[in-house]
Amino acid sequence: MSPAPVRRKLHTPPVPASPFPYHPGSLLSVNDLSLDELNHVLARATALEKQDPLTRDRILAKRRVALLFYEASTRTRTSFELAAKALGADTALVSNLSSSIEKGESLKDTGLNLRALGAEAIILRSNSSGAAWLLEESTRLPVLNAGDGMHEHPTQALLDLRTILAHLRGGTTKVNEKTLAGVTVTITGDILHSRVARSNALLLPRLGAEVVLCGPKELLPEVAASEGPDSRGGVTIERDFEAALKRSQVVMMLRIQAERLAGLQLDLEEYKAGYQLTGERLARLAPKAIVMHPGPIIRGLEITSGVADGPQSAILEQVTHGLAIRMAVIERALNATALKSAPTSVRTSSARPAKPASRKGARA
């Protein structure tokens, strides 16, 4: 009997199921939200926005929310802070400009200290991709990802969605796989370094939108076409800005993140010639499209002042929608109770922290 032949192909040992999020109140990625949860967040955003501020600020009265910001941020930090305060929560801001972070304390230790101080949820902005996952694993608290490196910015995608729904779908808070069917959203600019682009590319196609990514090769590698919620597609690349504009109902412009270019050389004049959103281009190619931008905008680079301040611009509305969305996700973070039981096969046992101390009972 001859021995069994050598098998030249082997299946790859399976990737273990993700243990994240550990806490049902966390929002690490837009993928953490099912369609039901998404509807819940949208509905609560609208309800909280309309609620009388005098009753609203009792919802999370005396609950403690920590804002941990490792990156300069005006809009996002203020938005989260105002949202938490609007619900009555106490907030504590820890930023890398004013704390032990600069003395070299690890994110894990900072998180554990915030938990020991009574923080019931942490809102994290970090320049490192994946930081929110590390913080959640370390603290097992609900963590709201307020932007991690080049990776994700889920509340930005949610507020973008709310802005789009307000303009194109009458402000509905009930969405499904077809809600945005027929809507093309073009995201233009520095896709490579953009967490906003990634979160939107993951979220909007789930509702039927077509996301078109646009930009030069240096800022938009071919591999970006593989982004998107799953293999169904919904994300394509179009290098020709004008061709993309012509198809778009929504035009989302991104700034060039000079701080992340890492030696990349870019001819800005050439970039503007190809990709700047000007009043002329908008009028000629997309006179009905809404213009969005997550900020900060660099007037005269990716967008002209005329467009930013013009009638098609929804840039400031986005900021307002952000406040509503953030109230909803902070409420969700603190009202989620059950801690998902820790799975058995994640990392080494030494990497797994002890169970968090019992938290205040959350209200329904």
Binding site: P3, A4, P5, V6, R7, R8, K9, L10, T12, P13, V15, P16, S18, F20, S106, L107, K108, S126, S128, S129, G130, A131, W133, L134, S138, D148, G149, M150, H151, E152, L192, R195, R198, P221, V223, A224, S226, E227, A262, G263, T344, S345, R347, T348, S349, S350, A351
Partner: protein, 432 residues
């Protein structure tokens, strides 16, 4: 006790083409006799090991480990690293020079081999190719060799300058040493922390392109070709890409002395295993695409790969419990290599056991020219591993001998349990 008789075992010694029941007598640190079952000459006072149902094989050899001493004893010491080696069936390990200070002198090379280090198995230091591994001035290779170094490398700090690499290859050849290159064109990997591709894009991490590895391998092979000497030996460390393997394959066809090793994580895992920023899946070279992983496996089965080497790289848990981009590269490997190779190469891919063991003993010994190692012929060093080839078990990093726990294989099913590891006639590990 100076003599050990191993009886009733099944000897697999790829170096001698033996795959049969044999009894073995070890005496004074050497193999004294290999005899048919029951035919061993009586040896007074010899300790008898009953290896019934077990495989007896040359002790395993890992030509790529980081023992962290001198300088980083909180990650691993020579004592703990070699204890882990013994538990994994290894009797020889070649220790990389990226210690603190860098092992670029005969003094450090000797220090690492000193009995005070408490090594359980034989440590073969690998000397730094250049002063401080800075890639500028060559070290004294003759002096390093005289002190016990078995090769030179700037592992982790690839030699980019053509002229320095050419000089290194030529100078090492003159004294009969191999040059090991960690092939990474670091100009293409600035700020990168995983393999370039869809997964890196999705995770928002900068990627290392496969060309960073293959480009440097191709450059090194060109230099070997230009030197036109069969004394020049280039060994490519931890090969991870199909393109680099293709270059090695072609170099061999052209008759060059170019060898390569592959680590278990590179033929088993892909960049998808990084999951949500699992720093225990961060190493350099990084986990690659499924196609590259498959190519590593094929290259092993095809015989292009000369050795399985673990790149055992211990790090303390606090160093790995940080943001992915800030975490140090490396995973441990000494305690999982045999169990993974038997499970996947032998069990799943049906590679004959003798060939798997050869990749872990005879062939790595040949790569570094370790005389009397990787073989159990009479007169060889009494380096033996005795294991139960059928035993299935689950690896638990917390129960390991290494000081560090940074492994992607925690909780994995393993095949083949080491029962005894004997290093130069002494029992270095015995399962309880």
């Amino acid at each position: 006790m100076s003599a050990i008789a191993i009886k009733n075992g099944h000897l697999i010694d790829p170096s001698a083409g033996i795959d049969a029941p044999r009894d073995i007598l070890l005496k004074d640190g050497k193999v004294a006799e290999v005899a048919a079952a029951g035919k061993l000459k009586p040896a007074d006072g010899a300790q008898v090991i009953n290896a019934k149902g077990l495989v007896v094989a040359p002790g395993l050899i890992d030509i790529h480990v980081h023992l962290r001493e001198p300088g980083q004893g909180y990650k691993e010491t020579i004592a703990t690293g070699t204890a882990a080696a013994a538990a994994g069936g290894f009797t020889s390990v070649a220790a990389m020079p990226n210690t603190i200070p860098v092992n670029d002198t005969p003094e450090i090379t000797r220090w690492m081999q000193s009995p005070e280090r408490g090594a359980s198995v034989r440590v073969f230091p690998i000397g730094a190719a250049t002063r401080g591994s800075k890639g500028e001035a060559l070290n004294d290779f003759a002096a390093l060799k005289a002190a016990g170094a078995v090769a030179v490398t700037d592992d982790g700090h690839p030699i980019l300058k053509d002229s320095i690499m050419r000089d290194t290859l030529a100078a090492a050849a003159r004294v009969g040493l191999s040059v090991i290159q960690h092939a990474e064109d670091t100009r293409l990997t600035v700020g990168a922390s995983m393999n370039a591709g869809p997964v890196a894009f999705r995770l928002g991490l900068r990627g290392m392109p496969v060309e960073a590895e293959s480009g440097l391998v191709e450059r090194d092979i060109r230099l070997v070709t230009e030197l036109r000497s069969d004394k020049v030996h280039l060994h490519v460390a931890h090969t991870s890409t199909a393109k680099a393997i293709a270059a090695v394959r072609q170099a061999r066809r052209n008759g060059l002395r170019v060898t390569c090793e592959v680590a278990p994580h590179h033929f088993l895992l892909t960049d998808e295993h990084v999951g949500h920023y699992n720093t225990n899946c961060k190493m350099n070279p990084p986990l690659r695409s499924a196609a590259d992983r498959a190519a590593m496996l094929e290259a092993i089965l095809d015989g292009v790969v000369d050795a399985i080497a673990t790149d055992h790289a211990p790090h303390a848990s606090h160093e790995k419990e940080v943001e992915f981009e800030r975490a140090p590269n490396g995973v441990t490997g000494l305690e999982t290599a045999l169990g993974l190779c038997l499970r996947w190469l032998h069990g799943e891919a049906r590679m004959p056991l003798g060939r798997v063991l050869s990749l872990l003993s005879a062939q790595p010994a040949a790569v570094l020219g370790l005389k009397g190692r990787g073989s159990l012929t009479e007169g060889s060093f009494a380096d033996v591993v005795i294991f139960d080839p059928k035993a299935e078990w689950t690896y638990r990093a917390a129960e390991g001998k290494s000081k560090s726990r940074n492994t992607p294989f925690d909780g994995w099913a393993m095949q083949g349990k080491v029962r005894w590891t004997i290093s130069e006639g002494r029992i270095a590990y015995e399962a309880n």
